[in-house]
Symmetry: C2
Subunit: 554 residues, 2 copies
């Protein structure tokens, strides 16, 4: 391994040029560790896809070098690929207790063993090959988040994970500024830092500011209060419970994922719940409206979520009554704006008072804004900087921010997933590329949906399909049944009988021409049918359905 | 018509509970007029649909009473349904010159005559049956916008159209506050007012503030400047041209819809263009980069727009060079956020400096914020109020705003499309409902796509389709060919051969069972195939493709 000596490789396998499926490989010689293994939700054009995970071919090819996976926190975009990864790789996974608690639930659902999980706490150090990995407390929209300081033979790398700097965190656990200062003093070789909010000027407000707003709304609310938020935001839930306690309300939790997280967080001590305040959702009818808070999922307007079903009047256990106050304590993730707006409209129609505006202070981000990023850069004073966790513009904004602090351009590396960022004692550069990409998960199928299937789904979704079936006598090359045309998603046939009759005539004419000119190659006949029909339909109605000729031989 | 006397009906046919397809009927006895006839862009779940127009059954049923259509301004959501409406109704259409100029282009594309268009200007009055309609200047993100004051036998109705109050409009045409004050003094029976921005506190900034920002960016820009905005925003284009003039740059326009509007606006005198500043897009290569401004469409990240194609490096005439400044002078319309973000990312990847942030002041809204709405309410002092142009939450916010000004709750009517708001000398109430709804346009098909087709497209888009074809001998009830299974959008068959083989075996077994038990009803066999295959695939792979059995008889 002499060749590999004195070469440190940082290889992002996900999270660059995208929000989601965060995963980074750090390698020195034949020692390799991984930071996070997240999933991503599908893009709009990935029809029918449930989720997207990173391509881990590189890990599989180098499995003998893989020493451990380190997790920064328990969000899906950092741990969600592990059920798939751990099916293929036997490797220890280190994370804080809440992170592993949430992960354990996911692994159980996927029938994957949790035997490789190893709990750590902020301040701990773990040896993995020639790496020594330290866990530093940071703040984020989930409890028990950490940044990593990774000692390597060439120097220390810091990976922030997702973070913000909250001077008044709900759990009192301030970001470990002291450790960062110490690291900065000793010298940091490279920094990888969260770029999600690199576009936002100023400071992200403290999580506690949301609690203040909760109190204001609790003060005014006459009827029940229903709060929707991200199920993993334990601090938000804590603040809602405290506000409920101050205003003599009981709290019921609904929505499977929130019930799960609340259960885990209570069990592990991340939620402090006053005696007797939690009630079962079935008990809410036993209390007057002004004594009830319901905590629920659905802050993103997800079609099957508890809040959406309540808004549609279809929830089995919670109806919305006029006078209820619904607080949507979240901001729509890009792409969910219309779904959330629809939910708000439906809630208003049910007579609820809905608190949802961005400006109303009932949500704060979990990611550092520009001034926080600057502070971390100045504390750590890294030699090299690799912006991570962000779409391309976020990475560029973060790069510019670092430049504005005096960092030389050539020491900043905006890579792609798969880029090999190579650091040696003499310098650093992007040097090569390994396999990286998107693996699509649809139902139980992992990676079996590719571009062709997606392209077909897109075409089917736009103008539907026409199936043309013909049965031919193989010996005499004559049509013995059909052409029959069946369509789905094209037109409502009963109202378009004439169009369909004309289409059938067109096909019959093509078949006749083929018979007359003794064309007997099925492929040629099919393509002739497809072309004629396609042209006819486009002229008639300006649509381009998929046309699928099927020839049966008897 | 004695019964209808003393009854005024206001019937919104579109624009309530939605942003788009604005259309309102006002009727007194057998006199009926319509305000605007707009289209709407399809919702996410309307797969393959091009646009949505209001259902005008009510107009067709009452065509003999229809005296005229009045247009407030030239945006698609106010005029876009006219090509369809005028195919079915012969009725005069009144609008200002720019509005009609834009409409004329649309009608020509649709092969509909413009003979019924009648140009008016702000200050004019038009008699239509027992109605007298006055046109009042208002400001909006398109030039030549007007509000309507409609004198009826029961009093004056004011319809604001879309508006904002711009004290420093680019064309110097301030909203007609004096006329509003006069109307308020004389007494306004009912107000219909734009609710789009009823959620926003404060005042919407003046269009001129964008010009100031243009100057700042023009000052800094080294290379070419490319500005994307809404093609109909003539004042925005005017300001870009003026900034270009001040900074000694030539202006080229690209994108069909923008070229059209600029052509019309120059011809009609709505754009004031310094001599020699406009150049053809083919000439931009003849000038140094720092002397060029390109105005383009694509501010919404539309896949086929000029800006998107430039961002992808696929535009035939404009490439993006490192050092170019791209200004996206627009805010994403809800639903377009991801498309715009993708375009910004691609532009950054091409090396452009992209100015796009909401906070950067390079876009202002065209709709009145809360303080502007309050001023209009207080100037007009209407007896009744009907919030229009907005999703449900906007209407509710606007209602609450009116209440906060002292208007009695019972005088405010939040209706639905089709609601009949009946005003008599004794009072007002929502009294009944007429046919109203969405007509979907897909290609040349208007209204031929219904729920069944959309549901099929949704299923096809999620998991694709499996077609099972069998040829049977009608006489002996035996299978003579097949079962053949063809799939599209389900799995990539080459990689899933075993699954498809197993599926075929399942179908064969069903057919065998049917044959054994002498089931010969095709419908029963089909449903048996569908059920068995569906259950098998869900168990195997957790997908639910559409399954379409086809039986051919020979």
């Amino acid at each position: 391994m002499a060749k590999a000596n004195h070469k440190l490789h940082i290889i992002p396998l996900g999270g660059l040029g995208e929000i989601g499926k965060n995963m980074t490989v750090i390698r020195y010689g034949d020692d390799m560790i991984v930071v996070d293994a997240g999933l991503m939700f599908p893009e709009d054009d990935m029809l029918g896809i449930d989720l997207v995970i990173p391509d881990i071919s590189y890990l599989l090819e180098n499995r003998d070098s893989l020493r451990a996976i380190f997790l920064t926190h328990g969000h899906e975009d950092h741990i969600g690929a592990l059920p798939y990864v751990l099916k293929q790789l036997d490797v220890p996974v280190y994370g804080t207790r809440l992170t592993l608690g949430i992960l354990q639930g996911r692994l159980k659902e996927a029938n994957v063993s949790s035997a490789s999980l190893r709990a750590v706490k902020a301040g701990d150090n773990v040896q993995a090959g020639r790496f020594s990995v330290g866990f530093m407390r940071v703040n984020h929209s989930i409890a028990d988040a950490v940044a990593l300081s990774i000692d390597t033979p060439l120097g220390t790398i810091v990976h922030t994970g997702d973070f913000k700097l909250d001077h008044t965190p709900v759990d009192g656990q301030v970001t470990d500024f002291h450790r960062m200062a110490e690291l900065g003093n000793k010298g940091v070789l490279a920094l990888m830092a969260d770029s999600t909010n690199a576009e936002r000027p100023g400071f992200t407000p403290s999580e506690r500011s949301v609690g203040v707003k909760f109190d204001e709304h609790f003060q005014q609310a006459q009827g029940r209060i229903i709060i929707a938020t991200f199920s993993s935001n334990v601090h938000r839930i804590q603040q809602a419970i405290e506000a409920a306690h101050r205003h003599n309300r009981k709290v019921a939790v609904i929505g499977r994922s929130m019930q799960n997280v609340v259960g885990i967080a209570m069990e592990l001590g991340y939620l402090t719940v006053p005696e007797g305040i939690m009630i079962d959702i079935d008990e809410i009818g036993n209390y007057p409206a002004e004594q009830i808070v319901v905590m629920t999922t659905g802050s993103q307007g997800e079609p099957m979520s508890a809040l959406t079903r309540m808004a549609m009047g279809e929830h089995r256990k919670v109806e919305i009554y006029p006078g209820d106050t619904v607080i949507i304590s979240a901001t729509p993730i890009p792409g969910n704006e219309k779904g959330v707006a629809k939910t708000v409209d439906l809630l208003f129609r049910q007579g609820a008072n809905v608190i949802y505006e961005k400006t109303s202070g009932i949500h704060v981000s979990g990611h550092a804004s520009q001034e926080e990023l600057k502070l971390v850069h100045n504390l750590l004073r890294p030699k090299y900087f690799i912006p991570v966790h962000g779409e391309y513009r976020h990475l560029i904004k973060h790069k510019k921010l670092a430049e504005s602090l005096g960092m030389p351009k050539e020491n900043i590396f905006v890579g792609e997933n798969g880029s090999v960022i190579e650091i040696t004692p003499r310098g650093a550069a992007i040097n090569g590329k390994v396999t990286a990409g998107k693996v699509l998960v649809d139902g139980l199928g992992v990676g079996d949906i590719g571009n062709i299937v997606l392209r077909d789904r897109r075409q089917l979704s736009q103008d539907g399909i026409l199936i043309v079936v013909i049965t031919v006598d193989k010996q005499h090359c004559t049509v013995v049944a059909g052409p029959d045309i069946v369509s789905r998603g094209f037109v409502y046939v009963r109202e378009s009988e004439r169009l369909m009759d004309e289409a059938r005539d067109k096909v019959a004419a093509v078949l006749q021409r083929c018979e007359d000119s003794r064309v007997t190659e099925w492929a040629m006949i099919k393509s002739s049918v497809r072309e004629t029909l396609s042209r006819f339909l486009y002229e008639k109605i300006r649509r381009r359905p998929m046309i699928l000729p099927i020839i049966m031989e008897v």
